[in-house]
């Protein structure tokens, strides 16, 4: 079973702020991590490999330092790591990103399964996975919470919805995006950590890919960010302290109207 896992390096949540004087993103001291949901994608890939054999290839598109994220996945036991990096890719939105990744995956073919995280914590779009599957013209299942079985060229999975889960059967190859419930990621092993230090990382730049240069980077991106700003801070709140019964009365009085209003529009 050949599995491709797409991961993104993201800034640690909470570290990202705007400097109020200059209105610019503060980049200094911001730690980079593997997108949290992608940890579950990696783990699921590893588990499937352990069950069915084959290999797990991790792909990321990003700046050169995204190599660190790939080395981290190698220390978890992935087999191959591909870094897609080029100035020409800078400024790609989800359309262009999913197009570039689909061209990379074509080059890495054949594969049985692509696994992505549900969404990336910097953009929270959940669009890249579905985008890749459209560019490759393969089926997709989003928000997968369990892979029930894989046999006879099909896989059967559970897809988390707002009100329960669906059981979906789909032929391979397929693209899945996964949620946290699917597994508990492992820790790196000593042996893999040693290997990760020196394992080769395959680098792909724009000229090594077969793609339409009009569809990548900022030029190829239909969307454009025109403004960034800090959301207005929440109003300073009221603190109730002291006797519990007193506190409860005060909250009920304070909230009653809002509750009635919230319920009335139904």
């Amino acid at each position: 079973m050949d599995i491709i896992v797409c991961i993104k390096q993201v800034p640690e949540t909470g570290d990202v702020k705007i400097n109020p004087q200059t209105n610019t993103l503060i980049r200094e001291g911001v730690k980079s991590i593997i997108n949290p949901f992608d940890m579950y994608a990696i783990e699921e890939g590893l588990r499937l490999k352990e069950k069915f054999g084959g290999k797990v290839t991790v792909v990321t598109m990003g700046p050169p330092q995204a190599e660190n994220a790939l080395r981290e996945t190698l220390s978890l036991g992935t087999d191959e790591a591909v870094l897609v990096t080029d100035k020409a890719f800078a400024g790609s939105d989800t359309w262009a990103t999913s197009y570039i990744l689909s061209c990379v995956i074509k080059k890495l073919s054949p594969f049985d399964l692509i696994i992505c995280g549900k969404q990336a914590s910097d953009g929270d779009t959940a669009q890249v996975g579905p985008g890749i599957s459209v560019h490759l013209d393969i089926p997709q299942v989003t928000f997968v919470r369990k892979i029930e079985k894989i046999e006879g060229g099909f896989c059967q999975v559970e897809r988390l919805t707002e009100d329960g889960f669906e059981i979906i059967k789909t032929p391979l190859p397929v693209l899945l995006t996964v949620v946290k419930e699917i597994n508990e990621p492992r820790l790196p092993s000593l042996r893999n950590m040693m290997r990760a230090k020196s394992a080769p990382i395959k680098k792909l730049t724009v000229n090594e890919l077969e793609l339409d240069k009009n569809k990548i980077g900022l030029d190829g991106s239909p969307t454009q960010v025109v403004k960034i700003f800090t959301p207005p801070p929440r109003q300073k709140g009221i603190i109730f302290e002291g006797d519990a019964s007193d506190i409860a009365d005060k909250l009920v009085a304070a909230l009653k109207d809002a509750i009635l209003q919230a319920k009335s529009h139904k």
Partner: protein
């Protein structure tokens, strides 16, 4: 694509320097100089410059005839034939956008065996409703739904298409936008129209809500966006409204799906759907044990609220994952969010900080949740919650 400063126009006024989000601009000899290594071509400086001294040249801008595209569409999500409330929120917002563009507002309804659902959408403000009624569309499946939307958009060419940022909306619209070669902005919380260009200014949280970004799709149509639950106001019902119902038929092959839905299993732990809830009561590690979640459930019941949980409570096995709020769970935006025994670490906050009213019940006045709460009850939750439950039962 390239960016350059026109030296004859630049006055060295530094407006661009302030506008640049990536600090790529410096002033050298009273002229702006752009560091192309840092520049992301976001065009913030172009807009900020009062002297038109900065220009971005898009080489490949495929400007098709955008004027062919008219009208605002909303995707009316249905489950088992029931129109989901998010569709009414979209119609509320869609009405406002359509009015300012002076165009029609339409709803899009895919499913099977419809009775008066189209009329409901008209009562909520749709001028017309496009319907495809087919047993193959009874339940959401990525491929036939994508084909249906793709077909309708190509045929009628709306300038804006909105859908809920729901499980269905996010899966579906991402596919449709790629097929249509157009831009899509996820999980928006605010819209404005730039009347001159007829562009939709789409504002959304990024980096978990620490930053807001405004995004446009300048040269492609339709402009597509998914919209966060509960942010927009539901359209009011007016049963006297009249509108058109346009029935479309999709060719058999386009209704095929490679994947199939075998079954649906309802989440019985969720008495109220978390995403749709107006009020959420959430519990965290402060509850100390699984059985104490009963306190949360009782308070929720007294308010008609849904039950949420912090990751600590989910990882401890006290609550199912479907209740987890936060970065690795769900993002919610209720009218009232009551956090009980939750400290409010950033990964939790990003999932709920756009709620209208936040209430914290916590014994630690320095907990982060207390700092952002509209009402913070500092004390022992085991004492306070039962009192609240009783009081709310009496008061409502």
């Amino acid at each position: 694509m390239s960016i350059k400063v026109l030296a004859d126009k630049c006055t060295g006024c530094k407006l661009c320097l302030k506008a640049c989000p990536v600090s790529a601009i410096t002033i050298v000899g009273k002229k702006a100089v752009i560091d192309l290594e840092k520049c992301t071509l976001c065009s913030a400086c172009v807009d900020a410059c009062k002297f038109s001294a900065i220009v971005i040249e898009k080489h490949a801008a495929k400007t098709e005839d955008l004027t062919d595209y008219r009208g605002v569409w909303v995707f009316a999500e249905q489950k088992k034939g029931l129109i989901q409330p998010v569709a009414y929120e979209l119609l509320g917002e869609g009405r406002r956008l359509a009015n300012s563009l002076k165009v029609e507002l339409s709803a899009l309804l895919l499913g099977s065996n419809f009775s008066n659902q189209a009329q409901e959408l008209i009562a909520r403000g749709a001028d017309s409703v496009y319907v495809i009624d087919s047993p193959f569309l009874a339940n959401f499946l990525d491929e036939p739904y994508t084909n249906a939307l793709f077909y309708l958009v190509n045929k009628y060419k709306p300038e804006i298409v909105l859908a809920g940022a729901t499980t269905i909306g996010r899966s579906l619209i991402s596919r449709v936008a790629v097929r249509l070669n157009t831009g899509l902005t996820a999980d928006c919380t605010g819209f404005e129209i730039d009347l001159k260009s007829r562009c939709l200014l789409q504002t959304r949280p990024a980096f978990g809500g620490n930053i807001m970004a405004t995004i446009v799709t300048k040269n492609n149509r339709p402009q597509m966006a998914t919209v966060r639950h509960k942010v927009m106001k539901e359209a009011a019902v007016d049963t006297n409204r009249k509108g058109k119902v346009i029935k479309e038929i999709l060719n058999g092959q386009l209704l095929n799906s490679r994947s199939s839905l075998l079954d649906f299993v309802a989440d019985i732990t969720q008495k109220q759907n978390l995403a749709e809830a107006d009020i959420i009561v959430s519990g965290g590690r402060g509850l100390k044990a699984a059985e104490n979640f009963k306190l949360i459930e009782e308070l929720a019941a007294s308010l008609g609220a849904a039950v949420g949980a912090s990751r600590a409570a989910v990882d401890a096995g006290w609550m199912a994952y479907s209740h987890q709020v936060g970065q690795t769970g769900r993002t919610v935006c209720p009218k009232i969010y009551i956090a009980c025994g939750i400290s409010g670490q950033i990964q939790h906050l990003v999932g709920m900080q756009s709620s209208q009213i936040i209430v914290a019940i916590n014994q630690d006045p320095s907990a982060p949740i207390v700092q952002i709460a509209n009402y913070a009850l500092v004390g022992d939750l085991f004492e306070i919650i039962p009192l609240l439950t009783k009081r709310f039962k009496g008061a409502l």
